[in-house]
Symmetry: C3
Subunit: 329 residues, 3 copies
């Protein structure tokens, strides 16, 4: 996880063991926006703050529940004794962010959902630690797998619990109301930006644009990669004949965006072969989206960021076998 260089080095005071209460409080507070930014692999807290603004622009509940999840997950990790290196970089927060957003999206804003977000973020923290142990021999990060597992289990299990399922919103795909595969110009450009916002399950194009601005603050390369990968995902879906309304909502873009960023400079060293590798990875993630959506539909689950997690694990695990591709230092 050496790819996440902190934007500011720790103060000299804390290194020498002297009291440094103020910086520590600031450091602790900054773990939260950094946690939100880590959903897109960034540790820049300005990026995280812009992401929080984007969440509130998408709906107050996404901002509130996303922050609740981030705080709970970060606190859980700290209380259980995870090293401060990981906690301060936000690496223990981002799965909590997504658990908060995912559960409020599929179960609705209620006190019961808030309790589930707290419980889910605690379970996600334990799962993060467990996956880190299992994946360490292969030098793979957990990515958003803890979020995917916790949210899948809760959403699939929810109908069994009367008090959890009561008042849940319907969340059919956009194509349910508007079927057809002819892609309009509006759907095309809106889907391009929405693909970036759908990383946080936001389907409005202007919310995607705010997220893009947040990425650009952290790194222009990352922002450009996100745009390119969202386009790849959109084109793959369109070429295979996916539903136009789903393409327009960015549903084929967000897994490509995450895969593209992960494989372009973040975990794979930049090179011509590396860029081609990342493009193939982004296209694979978009293609996998359809298969997993059908699979999860059968049991009432959702695709979430499973395609990104699975494809990126496979593409990173394969690197040592391929002499032309190198892991980032």
């Amino acid at each position: 996880m050496g790819a996440f260089v902190p934007p500011a080095s720790p103060s000299g005071e804390s290194r020498t063991g002297r009291p440094a209460a103020a910086p520590r409080v600031k450091d602790a507070a900054l773990t939260i926006p950094r946690g939100v930014a880590q959903v897109d692999f960034q540790s820049n807290y300005w990026t995280g703050l812009i992401f929080v603004i984007a969440l509130f622009a998408g709906g107050w509940q996404f901002g509130v529940f996303g922050l609740l999840g981030t705080v709970t997950a970060t606190l859980t990790a700290h209380l259980l004794g995870v090293t401060w290196d990981r906690v301060s970089m936000g690496l223990e927060g981002f799965n909590g962010t997504l658990i908060g957003i995912g559960l409020v999206l599929y179960l609705g804003a209620s006190w019961m959902t808030a309790a589930l977000v707290v419980g889910g973020a605690v379970a996600g923290g334990v799962l993060t630690a467990a996956l880190n142990t299992v994946l360490k021999p292969y030098d793979l990060p957990t990515f958003t797998a803890p979020f995917c597992v916790v949210t899948t289990v809760v959403v699939i299990g929810a109908p069994a619990f009367e008090r959890v399922w009561a008042g849940h919103p319907d969340t059919p795909p956009p194509s349910a109301a508007d079927p057809g595969t002819a892609l309009s110009w509006h759907e095309f450009w809106q889907g391009w930006f929405s693909g970036i916002g759908q990383v946080f399950f936001q389907d409005e194009w202007y919310v995607g644009l705010i997220f893009l601005a947040g990425l650009a603050v952290a790194s222009r390369l990352v922002a450009a990669t996100a745009l390119a990968a969202s386009l790849i995902g959109l084109l793959v879906g369109w070429w295979f004949g996916a539903q136009a309304a789903d393409l327009g909502a960015g549903l084929y873009g967000y897994n490509a965006v995450l895969t593209g960023i992960a494989l372009t400079g973040t975990f794979v060293a930049l090179s011509r072969a590396g860029a081609a590798y990342a493009a193939v990875g982004a296209a694979t993630a978009a293609g996998l989206t359809a298969g997993l959506t059908v699979l999860f539909d059968a049991v009432g689950g959702h695709t979430l960021t499973w395609p990104f997690v699975l494809v990126t694990w496979v593409f990173l695990a394969a690197v040592p076998i391929f002499s032309r591709i190198r892991r980032a230092a």
Copy 2:
């Protein structure tokens, strides 16, 4: 697996290589009750004998098929050359016990089921060895995963085979006949004890009480933990609004019981933080029960002890990351 201290050390005779036929026969015979006791992580053969009595109290078929599975699995492991350390402690028997009970429950008592129990116990023995190889780097035991895999596969595949499926009993959940979420006092206290009996798929409260007595013979701490964990599972299910009849049958308790025992002193060192960790684990296992039940229903499978296996693997694998939690010596 150092947690399983044998109740009696091997005789001096066998150590020096002299003939010791009688103790060996006794030792071999004791592997069977120990195998049954290991379902609840105990190696005390008195505990195993009480468990066998409880099985017969639940129904002759559970006792007979459970013993058939235990004997077959233990013999398979011995014939294939597994070390006597593992075999004598009953560690090669308990998955066979559960395979016998699970298959007779879902397929009915018949000669065909008996043949499947023998075949399943052999396959379970091979699977135990394979999982031990895979899990060794992470220092995780197999738990009841071999039972879960074999029983899931056989039960899901059974409808494809006319001679296997003929005469299978219907096994709907209790809530199918008696829906509703208002928990009566009777359901509450019966569910508390049934949660302990459901570890062996027994739904009568007095059978659960016999199992509790067996646990108390081995260790009062384990018996108290089982009671506490069954209560946690019951309360989690009730709070989320699960079906009262399912709660009363102990369906939300047994995975919490197994998880609670595993994380309290057995594999995690006793401490305040450890007890809280075990309580969170037990609650997580109860919550996971609903998700997995819905998932398996879609394909005709059953929940079995999957929630316990998955949650306890995750909670144990996470221990090295958490400085406040320690593995048992």
Copy 3:
């Protein structure tokens, strides 16, 4: 993977670094039939050529798409820098062969399917590398897992894509048109040979016979093992009461054939205990076929060679625990 001895050692010229264009071209060309032969663990290119003839005997599309997949997968691995040792033995080709055959079987012969075969073979090459990294600590080969994953994902996802799903053939099991469990003599002997052909998803008995001839060219032991394992699979299915038409099409044989060959001399050392182990493995694979078929039916997937992959991984991973069974040198 030391079991695959090349039929001809590399020429002396290439060892000393002198130009050896002609042998290299021949070597490169031979990777293709060797890739096809590796579906059955053989590296003999004559075997591969006979297999290609068998595929064309089954239908031109199986030959053409199978070769397309083999070439694409082999080229992908070579371009990404996989060692020539693996590429020249055909070990990077066989998953591509099966991806080509599987996709044309379930999606129909079209340019879109050809594009999917190319994309699938590239993804399969990356997945092969990733699985090799993950399985190396356990000394397990990937087997046909990359084929199974890619084909499952594409076939399950296909209905979401209008241009992919258009014109797909219906592929119900033979028993759908001809239900019943009374096995005729014709079904018995045809199923015996078809079990060998179904490794390549060919259901005609004479195609199975050509594949058997190809195996006999490589090794009489392998051919005899294939016959014995196909019979075991047939008998297991028949004894449990499987549909006679499915038995006659070899659907219970092919996973037993692959498991039998893998566990008899290929990866497990030949011995009496080893032969019994292989027979139990072949029977387990046949039994597992039914469970996985029901499971995949629920989501529109197919059984493919999943039973072989899962059973053989388990039986090989268990070897170190069993003192009577040894891995092949």
